[in-house]
């Protein structure tokens, strides 16, 4: 492993942490208002990051081309976020501040995020709430008309703003409405049902994309002065996850293969409160918002394989294991810690439900204390969703939950300006690696997506554009033809194999490998086996997959085939990254590296850095680069939630 730091310049501004962003904004180069319309910016993705970025850059006067795989920008997966969004407003007067939010986020991420980025995020959090309220987002209110807050995992203050259990939907609709206003004004051109299949580079710079029109199957080329990918995370590599079934890594993976470094690919978040799996043909796992842990108590029976009904198990025969192990945070311990604790009790044989792989989330005490109406008002839609799926009434008996792959902290490596290692190529939101370190705290994803989209990229992109004036380049340039041909060849190859196993069967098998060996607990032997197993599965895929249909038509199975081909490469990189990171931190738990009481044990001597991987060719070992992380403001300590 050779550490080459030369290509990783994080461009963190000088000065005290509280002044970095203000100073930076004051020093970036600007594009004259009259010249902005001469620039074209491509934004791929219409979620919180992409939608907000496209809308805001349209407002500024840039000519924006905005793409999404969904039939409407309003359906991007940000829509599914339930619980809330953090902001250091301190409306509750409970001692919150940008500093505290910064500190909680750095600590929650187990000291594997950049201080400067996280502080900026905390600082911008308040403007996001202002912006969203002004756009008509109906956040929860108190009777006096002021905004309501609740507390969320990993924090000791109430700083989470919410709109019932549909906060992501409401924030996305806010960004979507701003976007559609720009579409109305003509500054943003919308391209729904398009899948980005590659980035086009001219003289080393990102100058456009090639995408598939998902209705006609035709390949389309678009040129621009800069390209922003905001295409979300890649938990669907596990097959079963809380992500939407179309979430994929293809856009960022193809950027990686064009030279953008991939940061911390193994940092994935396993969310503690999901519905347990019911059968082998299940297509996804449903998340129950973490906000439920505010009033729900997590427990298992003290007796192994106790098959009594939960309501028949007396109080003193229940193990409220989170409250027992983490008395200071109790049921509100961070996600990685809560997930691992649930896995531990289930592995030890205390799990409940038909498979023994679930734990109770019990509202009995809260309903007794607050009344059913209050609980219904707070979580009504979540309770009915649970009831719908499981046919069990959570007002009468405890929910059953189990951890599931949820969010990916890893993503394209970006500098402070959100630019990848390819000049002119930016990554926003979950698609980048930047702000959450090794574990994301609840209600921080919406914050990061909107901070990147509404406030960061609109400020930082001008610094690049001012230096790179429009030059009239268009899609007739040979670089576009080359990439188009490459993409067309891959489609042809996939359709030509005509083997005997379906895309879904391969995806399912990959998911099994990932969940068992690159999931909640990892070890040297398992990761090495995962790498060889994935390689073998990938080789088989290109010999024996059956896709069906034609290229020039609406063909969803072909879309999936391309995505699974990329997952079969990404999965290996995740395992490789996990294998090389010989420490435990946040959601990355290496069994060899734990404290005496089973907590994650970091190795700050060797691993206080971001691992950024460089593609070196198919079937070549990628190169690992390191960006050292320095902590001048937060104190590097063993995380404790006890």
């Amino acid at each position: 492993m050779i550490a080459d730091k030369s290509i990783l310049d994080s461009k963190i501004p000088e000065g005290p942490i509280q002044e970095k962003w203000a100073n930076h904004k004051a020093s970036v180069k600007l594009v004259n208002p009259a010249n902005k319309r001469k620039y074209t910016v491509i934004v791929v993705g219409t979620g919180l990051a992409g939608g907000a970025a496209a809308a805001t850059m349209g407002e500024l006067g840039y000519n924006v081309l905005n793409f999404c795989i969904q039939d409407s920008p309003r359906r991007a997966h940000s829509v599914a976020a339930q619980g809330g969004i953090n902001a250091a407003k301190n409306y509750q007067n409970d001692g919150d501040s940008a500093w505290r939010l910064f500190y909680d986020t750095i600590k929650g991420g187990d000291y594997r995020a950049r201080e400067a980025n996280v502080y900026r995020l905390a600082e911008l959090s308040t403007s996001i709430i202002d912006q969203s309220v002004a756009a008509g987002v109906p956040f929860a209110r108190e009777y006096g008309g002021t905004l309501a807050n609740r507390s969320f995992g990993g924090a000791q203050v109430s700083r989470t703003f919410y709109a019932r259990g549909q906060t992501g939907q409401q924030l996305l609709l806010g960004a979507y409405s701003a976007l559609m206003r720009q579409v109305d004004s003509g500054r943003v051109k919308l391209f729904p049902r398009r899948e980005m299949l590659d980035v086009v580079k001219v003289e080393g710079r990102a100058r456009g994309i090639v995408c598939r029109n998902l209705v006609t199957g035709e390949l389309e080329k678009y040129a621009a002065d800069a390209v922003c990918v905001a295409t979300g995370g890649y938990s669907t590599v596990f097959f079963l996850s809380t992500m939407a079934v179309n979430c994929n890594a293809t856009a960022i993976w193809r950027c990686y293969k064009q030279g953008a470094l991939f940061g911390n690919p193994c940092f994935t978040q396993i969310h503690p409160t999901c519905l347990p799996q019911a059968g082998d043909d299940q297509s996804k796992l449903t998340l129950m918002s973490e906000s439920l842990r505010n009033d729900g108590r997590v427990w298992v029976p003290k007796k192994k394989k106790d098959d009594r009904r939960p309501q028949d198990i007396p109080e003193d025969e229940r193990d409220y294991f989170l409250e027992r192990k983490y008395p200071a945070f109790g049921n509100l311990a961070p996600r990685d810690i809560s997930s691992r604790a649930a896995k531990e009790v289930c592995d030890a044989g205390y799990g409940v439900g038909p498979t023994g792989f679930s734990v109770y989330l019990d509202f009995g005490e809260a309903i007794g204390r607050l009344g059913e109406n209050v609980i219904r008002e707070r979580y009504g839609n979540l309770f009915s969703m649970y009831h719908e799926i499981t046919d069990e009434n959570p007002y009468e008996q405890p929910m059953r939950i189990y951890p599931a792959p949820h969010y990916t902290m890893g993503g394209l490596w970006v500098d402070y300006n959100l630019m990848t290692t390819i000049p002119g190529l930016y990554a926003l939101g979950e698609a980048n690696f930047s702000d959450h370190g090794a574990n994301r705290l609840g209600a921080s994803a919406l914050m990061q997506g909107l901070a990147d989209g509404y406030f960061v990229i609109p400020s930082t992109i001008s610094d690049f554009l001012a230096e790179h004036r429009p030059d009239g380049l268009n899609t007739t340039h040979e670089a576009f033809t080359e990439i188009e041909q490459k993409v067309a060849d891959q489609t042809k190859q996939l359709l030509g194999i005509n083997g005997s196993k379906t895309v879904r069967e391969y995806h399912w098998e990959l998911g099994r490998i990932m969940w068992e060996r690159v999931g909640m607990a990892r070890n040297d032997e398992g990761l090495k086996k995962a790498i060889t197993d994935i390689q073998a599965l990938r080789t088989d895929y290109w010999k024996n997959v059956k896709v069906g249909g034609e290229g020039q038509e609406l063909n969803k199975n072909l879309e999936f085939a391309g995505r699974v081909a990329d997952f079969l490469e990404l999965g290996e990189l995740m395992a490789r990254d996990a294998l090389t990171r010989e420490e435990s931190c946040g959601g990355h738990f290496r069994e060899e590296h734990q404290t005496d009481d089973g907590e994650a044990k970091r190795d700050d001597e060797r691993f206080c850095h971001v691992a950024a991987w460089e593609y070196k060719g198919d079937n070549e070992t990628p190169a690992r680069h390191e960006e050292n992380l320095t902590f001048d403001n937060a104190k590097l300590t063993q995380r404790s939630y006890k």
Binding site: A52, S72, Q131, V137, M180, D391
Partner: protein
């Protein structure tokens, strides 16, 4: 369990469509309706036949992507439920289930069960927003909103834009969708400045997109997976009336 599905097949926008019936086996009652269709597609692929194309994404009832007419009902027989949330336990073992796309002039069929709902985006772009640029907002608590007003606005804002209201309506009207958005902003102080112009423009766009008028069947409310009330349509009419009386 097993079921027979009678599915609408149509190669493309211009092709003549038809029903095909397939037997789907090895199902369990916990499965969602879309997982049943996934199973069917795996069976079709294995036999070398074209899978049935249908849209879906989040599979937890919030993105609004999925939408099928099942046995004549948009999103199927269960109230307040999207197609993806519908479970096979709602069907009898061995039954025959008819599956069609959402049918409306405003929603052309693209292939099989996939329809084009981009008309909804065009309606929103005709005023379904508050004109406020990023970075120019006042402090969030500077706009106090009584709790009951915020809750009512949220009831309307909960619309997922799936289009079941259109599919269920004998007139293929989009009034519930449009009414919900107009209502949300007409209740909130942020929406006042553009209130009248918004109502008129959005309704004109709805008409131009080929959606019909509302004649109070209330089928939309019955089909809505988010329980959006037709009160939103009543309010939309009042907003339109006020808007058209003002100089727009």
């Amino acid at each position: 369990m097993k079921v027979n599905v009678k599915v609408w097949r149509q190669e493309n926008k211009d092709a003549q469509g038809r029903f095909e019936t397939y037997e789907v086996v090895n199902l369990i009652p916990e499965m969602s309706f879309l997982e049943m269709l996934d199973t069917l597609n795996e069976q079709l692929l294995k036999r070398g036949e074209r899978p049935v194309e249908f849209d879906s994404d989040c599979r937890e009832g919030i993105c609004g992507t999925c939408g099928l007419v099942i046995d004549g009902m948009a999103h199927g027989p269960k109230r307040a439920c999207t197609t993806c949330e519908l479970r096979m336990r709602n069907f009898n073992d061995g039954s025959t289930i008819t599956v069609e796309p959402f049918r409306a002039q405003g929603f052309p069929v693209l292939r099989d069960l996939v329809v084009d709902r981009s008309a909804f985006d065009r309606i929103i772009s005709a005023g379904g927003y508050v004109s406020v640029n990023s970075g120019s907002a006042p402090d969030a608590n500077a706009i106090p909103i009584p709790k009951d007003i915020a809750e009512r606005a949220m009831d309307s804002a909960a619309c997922i834009g799936c289009g079941a209201c259109v599919a269920a309506c004998p007139n293929a009207s989009a009034s519930l969708f449009v009414g919900a958005k107009i209502t949300q902003f007409s209740l909130l102080p942020q929406g006042q400045a553009e209130r009248h112009k918004r109502a008129v423009r959005m309704i004109e766009t709805m008409d131009n997109e080929g959606f019909g008028n509302c004649s109070n069947h209330a089928e939309c409310e019955a089909a809505c997976p988010k329980n959006i009330s037709i009160d939103n349509i009543a309010r939309m009419r009042r907003e339109y009336m006020k808007g058209s009386l003002k100089a727009v």
